[in-house]
Amino acid sequence: MPEVWIDMLAVLDGTARLAAPLILCAMAGLVSERSGIVDIGLEGKLLAGAFAAAAAATLTGSPWAGLAASLAASVMLALVHGFACITHRGEQIVSGVAVNILALGMTVVVANALFRHGGHTPALGAHERFSAISLPLAETLREVPALGSLYAELVSGHNLLVYAAFLSVPLVWWLLWRTRFGLRLRAAGEMPEAVDSAGVPVSALRYRGVLIAGLLCGLAGAYLSIAHGAGFVREMSAGKGFLALAALIFGRWKPLPVLFACLLFGLLDTVAPRLQGVDLPLVGPVPVALVSVLPYAMTVVLLAGFFGRAVPPRALGRPFVKEH
């Protein structure tokens, strides 16, 4: 097999791995924001999920228990956000900031209390994590030129949660654009008064949107600590929740473009370390630190409207006030 081909497969494989949590978080943000609730608390839910997954997997030895704990922790924060923003019509940005800081503090405090390990969890063994799944015929087909290695290297051999991430995109699309629930949810994000006047309670819809966001962030959290990684490290979400938020805007709140944005950001993240020490003609050594913040710069440029426009759902961030 040619060297370039192998390199390319490795880069794409890395992209899929790095993009997976972004995709899950971005889909979470998409569902929440389509219902009208701004979610800058993706980061916090991701972090809380990651910690809960690692802690539960350590204590029980089962990745499934870890996954359940991750979902529960993330959903709990999502419900806090919902309680503040939907029930009490609080400022959504403020609530999101609170969720992020709360997660930052709680994970370390609880980690110390449980494991006395400097805010980390002990390293997890292979059976306590979600390990790579070899898809049927991967080894058999490996020798088929091009497509065989593509299948064996890129499509096969990921853990369950990577597949879940890629599956979440069509699922979210289907849910939002092909079901009754989705129609109502999107209407709640555009014109909640219309939903209310159609006799459908807006709060319940938005709570469900926030809840789904919690579940998806929970999956992403579990991916970080018990699938991609082998244990919780403090602040291990490292801005991925915000990067997903950038991808959500970059993809203009639409599932497929958001997926592409996540893949693009994942690709940049994969390529950046490989550029360490590479000299570009004219530019000189590649400033890797600057390459890794390229997604943020691109999002700002998009937001500035110099190419295209990112139009958010019209009622995004606006609490629905129903007079009594």
């Binding site: 006047s197 459908v200 019209r314 129903k322």
Partner: protein, 517 residues
């Protein structure tokens, strides 16, 4: 054809309210209201702005819960706690502000809440077919796949009506449905409403326009200050009696002031064409001339360019094509003027929406009294509470603003007194030009007279006044000349003396022709 199915027939009224009371903070919006709406008829609920009509409609539709009182629908006790309850009992509503999702298609808007299955695909074909037959049956043609955002206002209203009928509404409430319609569209709407009635439906028409009630309703209930003050058969009453019930005393035809000496032109606009940020043409080659000591009124169905004209002249939106000449300055696309510059040139502006624009509601009244008048707020770059108080006190006295405490936040004043704060501020300097938008909207009748008197006094002192109002009566009472706008164009300008509501109405639809005055 008789306009009505007759007086109350045997059987139950479609809607019966007893003792309905609703309070918002200090305001008693509905005070012990009793109401019977007959089956199979078009019933009008009429009253001035702020009389409590919309609140009553919202209670029937379950948007507001009444504090007290009971409701029956078709003779059954019907505690309606939500729109879902109302819909289930066959009540539908066409809101003053359309309850449509602008980014959805007509079909999606109709489906919302009645999708016919968990998957949208399950019910769509059926809904499409039923929608088509409903459209045909009631003459409400509209493309089901059009985006609501792309539809003109008249068509959006059709979608609202269709949406209510689609939900099986037998009792259809329309809240001020004609405010955004041309007279022609209004006639079409009334034809549709009569059709619904003839098919056995009940229609409740909420409006403040007497003509409409007389044209289409069989019976009418009159509201004033939150109370139900009368009920009449339209066949047995006339507009004068209804007007009297509405305002609570005899309404004389306003005395037309003698034509004052008209001064020199102070503001000229020519060839003003303006597009909204969305690209819609809102003003087409508008030209006008304001003269000192004269009131030029702009008449028209709201949404025909009047608001855009005010924004343009006040500097709030930039001139795109054409130009404005004012106080020796020529303002065009290349030489824009900001609102602050226009004010400095001697322009004052009473905006149409006083709550969002004319006042900063949480600010104290004295802070609001210097809004747009920073030089009154204190020396140099500083503000001083004493300076603002000193400025506000005489204004409060002159306009009799109550309560007479400039330290209260503006939000704490009634609608009429809020308007007085705005007027007092803008009238203070005897401006060269005054832009006056809907000066008496939502203001109680007593205050209306004060406001009209002050406007006329200002004119006597030489201000050139541009009055924008949707109330023809107000225009006929105040104006010297009347400029009619239709579709962003000046349909004509006529002297007020001798102008009739009928003539103006024709011009508003683009049918009439006015001579330049």
């Amino acid at each position: 054809m008789a306009l009505d199915g007759g007086p109350e027939q045997a059987g139950h009224p479609a809607v019966r309210l007893r003792g309905v009371t609703k309070r918002f903070g200090a305001v008693l919006a509905n005070d012990d209201v009793d109401l019977d709406i007959p089956q199979g008829a078009i019933h009008g609920i009429i009253g001035e702005n702020g009389a409590g009509k919309s609140t009553l409609a919202s209670i029937i539709y379950g948007l507001y819960a009444p504090d007290r009182g009971s409701m029956e629908i078709d003779g059954e006790a019907a505690p309606v706690r939500s729109p879902a309850d109302a819909i289930a009992r066959g009540v539908g509503m066409v809101h003053q502000h359309f309850m449509l999702v602008p980014t959805f298609t007509v079909l999606e808007n109709i489906m919302l809440g009645m999708e016919g299955g968990f998957l949208l695909g399950q019910g769509e074909a059926d809904i499409r077919a039923r929608l088509a037959s409903l459209s045909r049956q009631h003459g409400l043609e509209v493309d089901p796949d059009a985006l609501v955002d792309d539809l003109p206002v008249g068509l959006r209203q059709r979608v609202e009506i269709l949406r209510a009928l689609f939900r099986g509404a037998r009792i259809l409430i329309l809240d001020e449905p004609t405010g955004v319609l041309t007279p022609d569209e209004t006639d079409q709407l009334f034809t549709i409403l009569r059709g619904i009635r003839d098919a056995g439906g009940t229609v409740v028409l909420i409006t403040h326009k007497l003509r409409e009630v007389m044209a289409v309703c069989g019976t009418v209930s009159v509201m004033r200050h939150g109370r139900m003050v009368g009920r009449r058969e339209t066949a047995e009453t006339n507009t004068a009696e209804l007007a009297e019930l509405m305002v609570g005393r005899t309404v004389g035809q306003a005395e037309r002031p003698a034509q004052s000496v008209v001064g020199t032109p102070v503001l000229r606009g020519a060839g003003l064409t303006w597009r909204s940020p969305g690209g819609t043409l809102r003003l087409r080659e508008v030209g006008l001339e304001l003269r000192a000591g004269e009131i030029l009124a702009v008449a028209g169905v709201s949404g025909n360019g009047q608001s855009e004209l005010l924004d343009l002249l006040s500097g709030l939106s930039g001139v795109q094509e054409g130009h404005v000449e004012f106080a020796g300055r020529r303002i065009d696309a290349a030489h824009p003027a900001t609102p602050a510059e226009m004010r400095a040139l001697g322009l004052a502006h009473v905006p149409e929406d006083r709550q969002r624009r004319g006042l900063v509601l949480p600010f104290e009244a004295r802070e609001n009294a210097v809004l747009g008048r920073p030089e009154k707020a204190g020396p140099g770059p500083w503000t001083s509470a004493a300076a603002m108080q000193a400025h506000a006190e005489p204004l409060f006295a002159r306009f009799d603003i109550r309560p007479p405490d400039p330290k209260l936040p503006a939000a704490g004043f009634s609608g009429g007194n809020q308007q007085k704060i705005v007027l007092a501020r803008e009238f203070d300097t005897v401006p060269a030009v005054l832009l006056l938008g809907q000066p008496t909207r939502g203001v109680d009748i007593g205050t209306v007279e004060t406001i009209h008197a002050e406007v006329l006094a200002l004119k006597e002192r030489g201000s050139a006044i541009l009055l924008v109002s949707t109330e023809l009566d107000e225009i006929l009472a105040l104006a010297d000349r009347i400029m009619v706008m239709n579709g962003g164009r000046v349909a004509g300008t006529v002297p007020a003396a001798g102008a009739t509501a009928r003539q103006l109405g024709l011009m508003m639809t683009g049918a009439g022709d006015g001579a330049a005055a």
